[in-house]
């Protein structure tokens, strides 16, 4: 259980938010030119990192806006919060 500091609303219980998976996965620019291996890599393969992960969250029971977090998946500590389109501070 942890508190998330929404960049728009401030600190709220994480139950107000929905998890949106690993951040910064860019959809291929030219999908028709991708091989099956490249599709598998984009669609299914994940770092599933134990440590600092950059991830997307949506404040679904609040302002309903998307933003990014960097969180340590080994202890659920949140290191930074940043808006979509921004770069993480660390």
């Amino acid at each position: 259980m942890f508190i998330i500091n929404c960049p728009y609303c401030g600190e709220r219980d994480h139950a107000e938010f929905s998890y949106g998976g690993e951040a910064h996965l860019v959809r291929p620019k030219q999908p028709t030119e991708l091989s099956d291996d490249q599709w598998a890599e984009y669609l299914f393969m994940r770092k599933n990192i134990k440590g600092i992960q950059y991830e997307r969250w949506n404040h679904s029971h609040g302002c309903r806006r998307w933003f990014n977090l960097s969180r340590d998946t080994s202890n659920d500590k949140i290191h930074s919060v940043y808006k979509i389109g921004e770069k993480p501070s660390e």
């Binding site: 669609l43 299914f44 994940r46 770092k47 599933n48 134990k50 991830e55 998946t73 080994s74």
Partner: protein
């Protein structure tokens, strides 16, 4: 030579106040080189080592375990065993395991307390009814016992279920697999450990893998907290930490690791003599031999390696339990814990070779790996020994995520995720 467990050994040891039982497995220091190293000393890993030695007659095998054997998800699950999966590939895989379970205590000379008390899967809406009836037919076509029970039959088979049409998600029927049931989770790990050790497998506990040494596309060995160990073949059976090991070898897997919780109540007299699962309201319950209700909760949505989940998940499960079983409403919960489960996008496992020669993965069992323990070990041992999958695990290759030939078992996985 291991002494056989029997009524006579029990009597003999009672004369010395049970203080002189032979230890069940050795505690060796790692050798400098092994032919095969299994990373992960849970049920699946120990079973793999056991069948490598027994069925493939291989020697010089080690199981490397970060903590103590059976201390991960093997010791954290709700011990449910069943094989009523939808697709042919899964039915083959899980029923293979169930057939081994049926004789495992005798084979291992170790009482794993396998109890075929039946597993029910409840339907709470019209879609559930259709989906579960379809699954009943699919199971029967695959030779797996499965019955459909209407509401009256549900009430008769498990009288404490609230079958009132007035509840929020009324019970509309259920499947029943009578061959399904539970087993004692620790005993499975210990029985396989004892059996593998007797055939010369080194079980090395408190030894964490820190790195995998590669030379081009093949394996040279592993770095551990007890030093470097040379090997040509590695079988990774690390459950929630599979991706961590894969990252050491420069591989990525289609896995996400999430906390899954379970809890037990204070012990009570026998009240429920079967296992009841409900996917729609997310409540499942059985009763242990100690009398505790064993309750499985759900996964959290986010990746976490913390072995603890959030309180809302437990609360949601208990709300459903109380609605379905009003008789439990004043029962106190005794313990709650979490395990880290590795989930594939199609809710089916991987028992697979990889792009690196000599590196094999057995993972992705997600929320329901315990039931498969013997079959998983048996098929993974075949895959490692022969360097090719057994017919029963060919569909569970990592290349299914490239070909698109997924084995979508979200419906039968019983825990919605």
């Amino acid at each position: 030579m291991k002494n056989k467990y029997s009524i006579f050994s029990l009597i003999k040891n009672s004369f010395s106040y049970h203080e002189n039982w032979q230890r069940a497995w050795r505690d060796p220091e790692p050798k400098s080189q092994y032919d095969i190293i299994i990373i992960g000393g849970g049920g699946h890993g120990l079973a793999t080592a056991y069948y490598l030695a027994k069925e493939h007659n291989l020697k010089n095998i080690a199981v490397i375990e970060k903590g103590w054997i059976g201390g991960g998800n093997t010791g954290r699950n709700t011990t449910i065993i069943r094989s009523n999966y939808l697709w042919d590939a899964s039915a083959g895989l899980y029923d293979h395991a169930l057939k081994i379970w049926e004789n495992l205590s005798q084979e291992l000379n170790y009482n794993i307390m396998f109890s075929q008390r039946g597993v029910m899967n409840l339907a709470h809406n019209l879609h559930d009814v259709r989906e579960l009836k379809r699954r009943t037919h699919a199971n029967r076509l695959n030779g797996i016992d499965c019955e459909w029970l209407n509401v009256e039959q549900v009430k008769k088979f498990c009288p404490i279920i609230n079958c009132s049409p007035e509840i929020r998600y009324p019970v509309m029927g259920s499947t029943l697999q009578r061959r399904a049931g539970t087993a004692r989770h620790d005993a499975v790990a210990w029985g396989y450990a004892r059996g593998a050790d007797a055939m010369g497998v080194d079980i090395i506990q408190n030894c964490e893998v820190k790195g995998i040494k590669r030379k081009g596309d093949s394996i040279e060995g592993i770095d551990t907290t007890k030093g470097f160990i040379k090997t040509k073949k590695i079988g990774v059976v690390a459950a929630g930490h599979s991706s961590v090991i894969a990252n050491m070898a420069g591989l990525r897997l289609p896995l996400e690791s999430k906390p899954l919780q379970a809890l037990v109540s204070e012990p009570i007299k026998p009240i429920i003599d079967t296992v009841v699962m409900s996917n729609a309201v997310h409540a499942y319950v059985s009763q242990s031999d100690k009398g505790e209700l064993v309750i499985g909760a759900g996964t959290d949505s986010y990746i976490s390696y913390t072995q603890k989940g959030t309180h809302e998940i437990v609360e949601g499960t208990l709300k459903a339990i109380i609605e379905l079983y009003p008789i439990f409403s004043r029962l106190r919960m005794l313990r709650q814990w979490g395990g880290v489960v590795d989930i594939c996008p199609d809710a089916s496992p991987l028992i697979t070779k990889t792009s690196i020669k000599g590196l094999y993965f057995n993972c992705g069992w997600g929320t329901g790996g315990f039931k498969a323990t013997p079959g998983s070990g048996h098929l993974f041992a075949h895959t490692i020994a022969k360097d090719e999958p057994h017919a029963l695990n060919a569909a569970f290759d990592i290349n299914r995520f490239v070909s698109g030939d997924l084995v979508d078992e979200h419906g039968a996985a019983a825990v919605a995720h």
